[in-house]
């Protein structure tokens, strides 16, 4: 087995060609050995990235057969139970893709599964970034791009869901129309423009088609590229640990290790999507039948990422206001507008503004390159869990009919429970998470100050039994010691009793109070249970030298 000593000609030749024309050498020199920190959670965003690639590939395949037309035809394909049924060309061509094109069903199912994985991947990636504070300076812009991508992904999902023009997708479209037309002042205009006249018209599928395959994916592609470039130039955050600090980045080089890992992960994503498409049927449109606004099925549901909107619509109370009585203006269907706009608004605006709000509250203008451990910023973590719970309750209630039907709970009870839980559960989540974070911080402090339990029991001369503690492994200790207090605004009044600038007035006072609550060190690391510090030191020495296997899991 020989090893390379010179660059092989097959690579050297083209490289030379490119370098002479692009100066690619400079770029590669800097970037081939770019360091990428290793942590499993850093790969979650790649799920979304690779799913997007799969979506582009499978989606292109689908466009070869799909006909975005709402013209009515009588079905004459292979699927017997629908023979002769009147349907739109879009639906007929989706059936053709499923039953008359080899591999067509597989590609359709992969496209749909990849879409679910795309949004799910984005969601968990965004949560990882949020809970580790990886959106902090200098990465706020990339965070905003991410929020934009998430919004576009929902839009892309909505337009794609509606294309096959089956009875399920039509129900989704009808709800979209009902929401659009409820908007104050512009509602009727929006719907008449979107549908080319009255609902459903004959245009919406082809219009959604061009949005779905051209405009939105184009923007997504551009934003994804920007997302990658920013990540590349700003370098990835890293977890606290040995030899790591805020001014360096420790990890594997891009070439060859990280490249191989990323490639393998792409293949894993592809394989999981293909596996799901093989073994789990998704969106069986042939069972749904063609769309007609006259029919709907029990259990009509959106895809999971729209579930929270569906849930909000379901638990809403019947409010409607006519501002100007019987005159033909001023109807505000609050039971549509509120659930359709408020939860989405809270979540998306909250996500977009959070980095800036946090900075305003903490006054922290430093650059951060550590992925903060969630427990070390308990208020942020609690706020995140509150948001997850809020979203989760709505999501769950979006499936309340299935819950009711399959678990035999009264439908009405689920709705009433949802109306209470939507307020109660997030509040509880906040309190519980905050407490858990403090508990974990206390545990960390314990680990740092007197080590971890060794499993060795020792009897002292006076008869007391104690369990020996052993110092943590240095990696773990470095990881724990990476904790930094959350910054607070200097709020103390000066000698004349005048608070600092920006802390005056009601808003300033609120800011100061929030800063005080949000920031600071809740459980300092040195603050373990300080009993028997002296003799424990000795025991560390006694066992530390011999056996520290208990730590090196």
């Amino acid at each position: 087995m020989s090893e390379l000593t010179t660059v092989p000609k097959a690579i050297g030749g083209p490289s030379n060609f490119l370098d002479e024309r692009l100066g690619a050498g400079n770029f590669l020199k800097r970037n081939l050995r770019k360091v990428f920190p290793d942590h499993w959670s850093f790969l979650l965003g790649e799920i979304a990235l690779y799913s997007f690639v799969i979506l582009l590939l499978t989606g292109t395949f689908l466009t070869f057969w799909f006909k975005p037309s709402m013209a009515e035809i009588a079905y004459d394909g292979s699927y017997a139970p629908l023979k002769g049924v009147m349907m739109s060309q879009a639906y007929a061509s989706s059936l053709e893709l499923s039953f008359d094109v080899r591999g067509g069903l597989l590609m359709r199912q992969m496209h749909h599964w990849a879409a679910l994985m795309f949004v799910a991947g984005m969601t968990v990636h965004a949560l990882r970034v949020f809970f580790t504070g990886a959106y902090r300076k200098p990465r706020e812009l990339n965070w905003l791009i991410g929020v934009g991508l998430l919004t576009l992904a929902l839009l892309e999902g909505l337009t794609g869901y509606s294309l096959p023009d089956d009875l399920l997708s039509g129900a989704g479209l009808r709800i979209t129309e009902g929401v659009a037309i409820s908007l104050p002042l512009v509602g009727t205009y929006v719907t008449f423009f979107l549908f080319g006249g009255e609902y459903p018209g004959e245009d919406v599928v082809s219009r959604f088609y061009s949005l779905h395959i051209l405009l939105i994916p184009g923007i997504i592609l551009a934003l994804v590229s920007a997302h990658m470039v920013l990540m590349w130039t700003q370098k990835h955050t890293q977890m606290p640990g040995k030899n790591r600090n805020n001014h360096n980045v420790v990890g594997a080089p891009f070439y060859p290790a990280f490249m191989a890992k990323a490639g393998a992960y792409f293949l894993f994503t592809f394989a999981v999507v293909a596996g799901l498409a093989t073994f789990a049927q998704i969106n069986p449109i042939w069972l749904f039948g063609p769309y007609t606004p006259a029919d709907v099925s029990a259990g009509s549901q959106p895809d999971f990422y729209m579930g929270f909107l569906e849930g909000a619509l379901r638990i809403m109370v019947p409010w409607e206001i006519n501002l100007f009585g019987t005159s033909h203006a001023g109807t505000l269907p609050l039971s549509v507008i509120i659930p359709a706009l408020v939860p989405m608004g809270i979540i998306m605006t909250g996500l977009a503004l959070y980095p800036f709000l946090e900075r305003w509250v903490t006054g922290d203008k430093r650059e951060h390159h550590f992925a903060e451990r969630p427990r070390n910023n308990p208020h942020r973590t609690a706020i995140g869990m509150t948001a997850i719970t809020f979203y989760g309750v709505l999501w769950l209630l979006g499936a309340n009919d299935e819950i009711s039907a399959n678990f035999h709970i009264s439908l009405n009870v689920t709705t009433y429970a949802g109306r209470v839980l939507i307020f109660l559960a997030p509040a509880l989540a906040y309190l519980i998470t905050y407490r858990i974070c403090l508990g974990l911080q206390r545990y960390d402090a314990g680990v740092v100050s007197h080590g971890v339990e060794s499993g060795v029991i020792k009897r002292l001369p006076h008869g007391e039994y104690i369990e020996l503690h052993t110092p943590p492994h240095e990696d773990i200790e470095a990881h724990v010691r990476g904790k930094e207090p959350v910054l607070m605004l200097p709020a103390a009044p000066d000698s004349a009793g005048i608070p600092p600038k920006g802390m005056r007035g009601p808003l300033g006072k609120l800011r100061a109070r929030m800063s005080k609550a949000y920031g600071g060190e809740k459980i300092p690391l040195g603050d373990g249970h300080a009993h028997g510090e002296g003799h424990e030191e000795e025991e560390h020495a006694a066992i530390g030298a011999g056996d520290d296997h208990s730590l090196t899991r």
Binding site: D38, W40, L43, L44, A80, P81, L82, K83, V85, F99, L105, Q109, W113, L116, M117, A120, G121, L167, L168, K261, A264, Y265, F268, V272, L276, A277, T278, F279, A280, Q281, I282, N283, P284, L287, F288, G289, T292, A294, D295, V296, S297, A298, G299, Q301, D303, F304, G307, D401, E402, S404, A405, N406, H408, I409, S410, L411, N412, V413, E453, T552
Partner: protein
């Protein structure tokens, strides 16, 4: 260390807590679950002696709720006069009647020991004799082979799926009632349900939806439920809810495990 602390630190403690929490959730769940309720009722065609024997069966098994003369008992069970033999056949052959208890809805359950085609026929004959009503359909009337599944599909989508779902997987109704899954229903039972409107289900009489059209609907229901799922496991055929669960539970966990494997460190001895 106190004993409680010792327990708390036991390696199995976390599992114990988990099991305890699950048990709590389970108990909370049972508190919400609706128990099953008497519904409307029952039917056949028969001879005079069938009627007499049917009356005896009725008095033994049904009269405690429906009254000795099937006139119904207010607040307990409806009258059976005029429901016909089709209703008796549907309710008793699916095990819904006699009802076990009074919940929101009487569920399909195993038949009672005394129930057999013969006893159902007799009971039906008796109820039929009280005030007429829909008869049990003949074999040909419910023969799926004679129906037009395409046409039946259109009618099925227009009249049935809003409660029973696209493929008859069932769905929720108000206040704990539900539209049952149609997978276990025989063609005769489907027909009888349409003409008698058991429990909360509305009636689709033969003069507006003809027997031929009903047969086509039966043809569609049976053909779709017997059809294989070409795309893999059907996930209950209830739509995007289970698909979302699979994406998160199977898809995302598989990828998270792959990520953990790819980035796992072998810790070096230092």
């Amino acid at each position: 260390m106190t004993r409680i602390t010792a327990w708390r630190r036991h390696p199995l403690a976390r599992y114990a807590v988990l099991i305890f929490a699950l048990a709590l959730v389970g108990m909370a769940y049972t508190a919400f679950v609706q128990v099953g309720k008497p519904a409307d009722a029952a039917l056949a065609s028969g001879r005079v002696d069938d009627v007499a024997e049917g009356k005896a069966l009725f008095e033994l098994h049904c009269s405690s709720c429906h009254g000795l003369n099937a006139q119904g008992i207010s607040g307990k069970a409806p009258t059976l006069i005029g429901v016909g033999a089709a209703a008796v056949d549907f309710q008793v052959s699916t095990g819904r009647m006699p009802a076990a208890d009074s919940g929101a809805q009487a569920p399909r359950k195993p038949e009672h020991r005394w129930v057999n085609p013969d006893s159902i026929r007799k009971l039906g004959a008796y109820v039929q004799s009280l005030g007429g009503g829909p008869q049990v359909p003949g074999k040909e009337q419910v023969d799926a082979k004679l129906g037009d599944a395409g046409k039946g599909g259109e009618l099925f989508r227009a009249n049935c799926i809003q409660c029973h779902n696209w493929v008859g997987a069932g769905g929720a109704l108000t206040q704990g009632k539900y539209a049952p899954n149609l997978n276990q229903a025989s063609p005769t039972q489907i027909y009888e349900a349409m003409i008698t409107g058991p429990q909360a289900m509305p009636v689709f009489n033969d003069s507006t939806i003809t027997p031929e059209e009903k047969r086509s609907m039966i043809a569609y229901i049976t053909s779709v439920r017997e059809q294989t799922d070409p795309g893999g496991f059907g996930l209950g055929r209830i739509g995007p809810v289970t698909e979302g669960l699979v994406a998160w539970i199977a898809g995302l966990s598989a990828l998270a495990l792959a990520a953990i494997w790819i980035t796992a460190k072998k810790r070096q001895k230092s």
